[in-house]
Amino acid sequence: MAEAASRRLVLEVRGVRKTYGERVITEVLKGIDLELFAGDFCALTGPSGSGKTTLLNLIGLLDWPTSGQILIDGRETGPLTDQERTDLRGTALGFVFQFHHLLPAFSAIENVMMPLLARHGSPKPWIRERAAALLDEVGLSHRSHYRSTDLSGGEQQRVAIARALVVDPILVLADEPTGNLDTETSAYVMELLHAFNTRSGTSFLLVTHEPDIAEGCRRVVHMIDGCVDSDRVVANKTGG
């Protein structure tokens, strides 16, 4: 971790708590501290109900913590307005969901373009070129005009990865990205994610239940009952 001091801190989670309910209060996160540096490839593991997805939603600015601070690229997100949070999501973060969550009314390339279209207002040639290049990188240039519903599960997830990367984010949040895929496709998707991580230096935080996937990451944060139980570097996966 000595080299971490020289690297850019892209995410800081400081004492984040999250409770639900008014009469019966359920504390899902009980004071989480977590730091992620540029280029990190970190798995977030833990049993169901340990608070992984809740933490991912808070880091993804899709939900508000009950207390504590979340800093993205050094920027405190607590005081931000809804619009500022949306803009930050659209520029600094990328999302990959378990069920891909592509927009079925749009083609693969339009799905990839969507975050940039939302930000820049109208389709510009460079947006289409960037989306096409990313589709090419995930091996789907020949399917760019297919509706998402006409793609296989693995292909849909590759489109979702391209969509997450199109804004050139500093951090990609992936919630069980291989949870719905067969072993072979899972391995291919993970390869893609690692390749992007290595090439662009984009940080990845992956929620996963699968030990193999977690062990393939350089760092594994394990959660139990809303707390970080362990935070370890995986042997032979250091660096980068």
Binding site: G60, D87, F95, L103, M114, L117, H120, S122, P123
Partner: protein, 405 residues
Amino acid sequence: MPFELFVALRYLKDQGSQTGLILAGIGVGVGVIIFLSALITGLQESIIERTLGSQAHVIVRPPEETPRLLPAGPGELRSVVVERPPQRVRSIEGWRQISSQLERIPGVTGVATTVTGPAIAVRGLGSIAISVRGIELERYQTIVDVESRLVEGRFDLAGARAVVGTELARKLGIGVGGRIRVQAAGDRGVVYTVSGIFDYNSVTLNESLVFVSLRGAQTLFGLSGGVSALELTGSDIFEAEALAELIRDRTGLDAQSWMSQNGDLLTGLRSQSMSSIMIQVFVILAVALGIASVLAVSVVQKAREIGILRATGTRAGTVTRIFLIEGAILGAIGSLIGIALGTFLALFFASMARNPDGSATFPIALTGALYGRSVAVAMLVGLVSAVIPARDAARMDPATAIRNG
């Protein structure tokens, strides 16, 4: 193409039959509005044309003659019985000045001087009570298009020539070139040669109205250089009563609008307009509820997609605009369908019933203004109907929408 429009169009296309059904609903609604408006406006215009096609909007006459009592002497007490004098054809004092004064009133589009009075038309042993109207054809033509009513001969009033109605010609057995004697009060009579015959589509007018020259009528009624009425038209026929009141106030003369003389007609027209407006309001309400319900369902169906859009950086305001645009597009396209449907219905209905002369029994008024208004109303209704669904969409919590949508 702006992002919001791009997404809205795609969603509408993607919803297929749902979009088709609501477009059909809007189309039928707008079609009914156009059909009803065209029919009722056409009927009203036809009724007004028939009524006002033969008369001025406002007629200004001298005030009625009233008896004047001599003042009683000091200490004198008199018992009098006041009898109203018979009304005779009289001239408006200072009519030239008043006429130019009327022409300057904003909204007045034409002023004509006339001498109108009662008389009897005699031919041989036949006689009919008539109303003689002395006019200067060129000026009178600016307020009532009399020449277009001519069915025979020419509208020539020079010298002792007259133009009579079809009924009078029939009853007195005369044609163009025939002669009638017109006898007025005070034993004044003139023999006129009929130069033309008109048809006002009114038995009463065709029987009783006789046009002569202004000078001829002045001679007949002993009004040398005078006129008995100033007849005028305004730009808005429904402002005629206000115009008449203004003229009464300014001149002290007796000004009567067509509205005060056709009270029943006016009530009928207003009732017709009100019922038409009521039907249109309820149709618009039904259309609005239809659009709102389709969009509300669409928001629920697309909850997860809205969540994804929000998660990937689409602002809440952008989501609002997507659904507002959907509403406006539905209104616009629906109104175009409605225009086609309404126009077809109106033309079909008009072609179904025809008068013996070939004109439509139910005249229709399909105007650019009606179409423009329909499109504008439908788009506005679409926008307004989309407000609540759009607001709900924008308020969605992205995480919940993605999880539960």
